[in-house]
């Protein structure tokens, strides 16, 4: 459900960017999203195009590029991916998605909480890096 709020953030940010750069239109926007965010790309695209309507961004093509998540432990050197992370994720904390009433891990909303919600699957340390796969960013704009 956070697809709508994130798409809204992208649209507003791009409109500000267009104004500051003096752009009257944009042909294509590439948005890179981290796997941890678990975006439903269909909903995100729908939200993006809906929110762009009637703005200078209307007509811009949205290209979504997924960035895979990758973790590396600074204590023992172990490396793991999002599938492993999802399996070992602490279920102690949850966020309630409304109106569906589904409980989700805060990690999908706030990926930087990884060290709070996960430990290295090999040594149990919290001293690991989330090397990639957490961001939401505009990675390319074609005017």
């Amino acid at each position: 459900m956070h697809e709508w709020s994130l798409a809204d953030a992208v649209v507003r940010s791009l409109l500000g960017f267009m104004a500051s750069e003096g752009l009257s239109s944009i042909k294509e926007v590439e948005v890179t999203w981290g796997e941890i965010l678990e975006l439903d790309t269909g909903i995100f695209e729908q939200a993006f195009y809906e929110l762009s309507k009637g703005t200078p961004l209307e007509g811009a093509k949205l290209v979504l590029k997924e960035e895979k998540a990758y973790f590396k432990c600074n204590s023992c050197g172990a490396e793991w991916d999002f599938k492993t992370a999802d399996e070992i994720l602490s279920r102690e904390f949850e966020i309630l998605e409304e109106p569906a009433g589904v409980k989700e891990s805060p990690l999908h909303f706030l990926p930087d909480l990884a060290r709070t919600l996960l430990r290295c699957p090999k040594c149990g340390s919290r001293d690991f890096d989330l090397i990639s796969g957490k961001d939401l960013r505009v990675s390319k704009v074609v005017a």
Partner: protein, 258 residues
């Protein structure tokens, strides 16, 4: 070459700036009672009829959930994360999400977490957003400065003990805020005096802030009733008549200034 926009920072600053007035509560050092004063000011402004949100930007030691307690889960809707509504306030703190678990983060990761949290928080239209900053002049202060600079009705109060050791820290924070064009409303002294029978004892002495070019907005006593209030779940501004009057006077001054 065009630089791509920082989506999350843009949205974080936009969401913070939707409040009619933005009040940051900062301190140079930890342990001076800044969070209690943030909560007391937010509650008092709310009781004055204002619609108030309170945002806890302390990643490592969020205090607000210890006073405004709730077992409810934070809700996510189409519009983002809903702040909790307790005692007439809207509240957002990482402490409501990860409770008392450690959040080992630094540098860019911390900034990224703060941006995402603020970018997703869906406040109602507010008269005041009070922001409880962690001590010092780190990442959280930088994000706050970026928000303050672009908000037409914003200001910062600095909380300190009236100790000589604190003066240089207060000066550093003041210098940073002023260099960055942020409006400083004044200083609040906490634990400034103890009422002992009919006498007032000032364990730290008295400081003159005029050399810093900052107004003293008010002084609060070191009052055991505050700790008792916390233990019993009572809002800190209602700890005693003296605390309540002091906070009310400070809130009224802030109202006039903002």
């Amino acid at each position: 070459m065009m630089r791509a926009p920082d989506v999350l920072q843009d949205e974080a600053l936009r969401r913070i700036s939707r409040a009619e007035r933005l009040l940051m509560v900062a301190s140079g050092k930890g342990g001076v009672g800044k969070s209690l004063i943030s909560m007391a000011l937010a509650s008092t402004l709310s009781e004055m009829g204002r619609k108030v949100g309170l945002l806890d930007l302390d990643v490592h030691g969020p205090s607000i959930p210890q006073v405004f307690r709730s077992e409810r889960l934070i809700k996510a809707t189409k519009h983002g994360l809903e702040p909790l509504k307790i005692d007439g306030l809207e509240l957002m703190s990482l402490g409501y999400i990860v409770r008392d678990s450690p959040v080992p983060l630094g540098g860019e990761d911390k900034m990224s977490l703060l941006k995402m949290m603020v970018a997703l928080t869906d406040w109602s239209p507010l008269d005041y957003l009070v922001v409880d900053l962690p001590p010092g002049t780190g990442d959280e202060m930088i994000l706050a400065i970026r928000a303050l600079r672009r908000h037409p009705k914003s200001g910062t109060v600095l909380v300190t003990l009236p100790s000589r050791l604190s003066l240089s820290v207060v000066k550093r924070a003041l210098d940073l805020l002023r260099d960055e064009g942020v409006r400083v409303l004044g200083i609040i002294e906490n634990m400034a005096y103890i009422r002992c029978g009919g006498d007032i004892v000032r364990p730290f002495g008295s400081l003159d802030y005029s050399s810093l070019g900052a107004d003293l907005l008010g002084s609060l006593p070191l009052d055991p009733a505050v700790e008792e209030a916390l233990a019993s779940g009572k809002p800190p501004h209602k700890a005693s008549k003296e605390v309540m009057e002091a906070i009310s006077a400070i809130a009224s001054r802030i109202e006039v200034m903002m």
